[in-house]
Symmetry: C2
Subunit: 371 residues, 2 copies
């Protein structure tokens, strides 16, 4: 059967890899992996929900190509990104006697990708990793670029490694089983790429938003352009010592909100990013960096996509302004007490600002809490 | 006060670092770290025994230079290389709000270096690491080269990362509190460097063994030459895809013996390596690769250093030959069921042999068990 997919190549020297984006990649996975990793054995890491929806297709395809994969099925949800689940995953890979050249296949959303990726990076000091992202968020963001992590009681993603995948298979058909809220959360990260440095992409998204949500050609194009954007930043700065930090637009606020809502369904990561991006634009306007009409335009776009955009949109209590600032202070991007933010000069013109004054942030947040 | 030390530079591009070898480095640590890492904060990871013997000197020196280090003191012994201690160390570093550019200082032997190094590598996806090795084994081997790890119930060092230190301070004076058995165990790794590819160094060791054990100039020279040898292999092959594996001479046998003796004081790592090196030479002679008189010469040298050299030297029961082969089969160097060994053509002429036949190994071990 003829196959058809977009390919985005990530040229990272001896860690280079391809991202394939298509509609039947789960069914073609066996053939694709057999071609690229001829004699490898496979450990699939997934969660119960994804196992129900997608695992049978992947298993059938792999077995048809002669693989006999081991399955490691974890509970769904952010709380799976824990020390305990990391240990369980690593021990299962060792128990199966998988070796350095063998494959850890991460089948699932961002949680599974982050956890399985981290497990692959430290088991036998580094196994090969294949990401098969099944949520929009994972397809356009977390499966690409090699960041892996688990969470600490002190904050999200505070323990992890940079470990590039050897291949990413983004099968759009897995998005059809996603509910609208999850899809919208992933869409926030798509919008982010436009906001950072590509106003043309941003305007294109405004025009094609409905088509992207409905599926079809614009959806595939949005995913491919997002992966290409992510890949560009990763190649320029693999371990985030410089411009890769731009990908954190909205994320300093977002991580704090996720912490204060207990990394729960109260606020999905993409929803927190949506609020965070609007705050970053409004804060930039307040500081005189950006035109204030951009904030309204972006807020409108995200609202039409069904996303929250304000602190007051967060359901339930998130504590006072001090608690919010304290949560921001534990972000990985903190340096010596001064705060680092991704700010912007307008749509497509984000920049990194170190040494943002804490008081200024406090004043801004205090005002936003009632807005 | 004038200082004096050997410096071995490890030229690993943007991960290059120095190994300083001297007699007062613990007391000079504050000045040295202040020069190289001006505004960094410091978390010291050590164990209770080393804390008692060495921590006061290090703390005094750091405080004199204006540092206010956080101390993380763990229980001594191989069982500290566990998931639980890793978690405890990471959480203590996060609790202290140490950031990416801050320093994890590993003060101790191989266990502390491996654990603290692994914690540094995954906390915030990578903190800076300074190794201050206090055992001979750690000074000549584990503190150099970036291998970090904890143990799994499935075997030793099966979970870890490659994370190069930013600096190594090897203070010989810490070896004076070491008991003779620990020192001898470290000496086995010194001998290893000669056996791999430097017969001149090996013969020099035979001549200077007593002086090295007594302390003095030959000891410093032995440490410096060992570090230089280790560095050479690491630079040639940082992540052990090729010749770095030669450093595992004797280690496939050694890891199996350590596993079967429960990673306990029954058999120290260096003692297992001593037995493993003699077995590797004897096995090589058996296969016709090496002259058999080399085996006797090496065995004699190691025995004079107070080291065990035979399976029958291991105190207590180590199970039958099948158990030994099974334990060898779980080593990281296993590929697809065939066994990889470091073999030799004689002193200073080690080589990597893939696909060693399991039956041949079994026959050899069966014979060695009663020898």
């Amino acid at each position: 059967m003829p196959t058809s997919h977009h390919t985005v190549h990530v040229p990272l020297g001896d860690r280079a890899y391809d991202i394939l984006i298509g509609k039947r990649l789960l069914d073609e996975a066996g053939v694709i992996l057999a071609e690229r990793f001829a004699r490898a054995r496979i450990g699939i890491v997934t969660d119960e929900n994804v196992a129900r929806a997608q695992l049978p297709r992947l298993l059938a395809s792999l077995r048809q190509s002669g693989f006999q994969p081991v399955e490691i099925v974890l509970s769904p949800g952010e709380s799976t990104k824990s020390y305990a689940h990391l240990e369980r995953t690593i021990e299962a890979l060792l128990e199966a006697r998988l070796e350095r050249g063998d494959l850890v296949v991460a089948l699932g959303g961002g949680v599974i990708g982050d956890l399985a990726g981290f497990a692959a990076s430290v088991t036998r000091r580094g196994m090969k990793l294949v990401q098969i992202p099944t949520s929009l968020l994972a397809q356009v963001d977390s499966s690409v670029g090699g960041k892996t992590a688990i969470n600490s009681p002190h904050g999200k993603n505070l323990i992890g490694a940079f470990h590039q995948p050897s291949l990413v298979l983004a099968d759009q058909s897995t998005l059809d089983t996603l509910d609208e809220r999850q899809f919208a959360a992933g869409y926030a990260e798509v919008v982010k790429y436009g906001l950072i440095d590509d106003e043309k992409f941003y305007f294109w998204l405004e025009e094609h938003r409905e088509e992207i949500f409905a599926g079809g050609a614009a959806r595939a194009e949005a995913i491919a352009r997002s992966c290409a954007a992510k890949a560009r930043f990763v190649v320029a700065d693999e371990t985030e010592t410089g411009d890769r930090a731009l990908l954190n637009l909205g994320h300093t606020f977002a991580h704090a909100l996720e912490k204060l809502t207990g990394y729960s369904d109260r606020l999905l990561h993409g929803e927190a990013v949506s609020i965070g991006m609007v705050l970053a634009h409004r804060f930039s306007a307040r500081l005189g960096h950006a035109p204030s009409q951009d904030t309204g335009r972006i807020e409108n776009h995200l609202r039409q996509a069904g996303l929250p955009t304000r602190l007051t949109d967060v359901p339930g209590d998130i504590g006072d302004t001090d608690a919010l600032l304290e949560a921001i202070g534990q972000d990985k991007k903190v340096r010596r007490g001064a705060l680092t933010f991704i700010l912007t000069r307008g749509i497509g013109r984000a920049f990194i600002e170190h040494d943002v004054d804490r008081d200024t942030v406090w004043q801004f947040l205090e005002r936003m809490r009632t807005r």
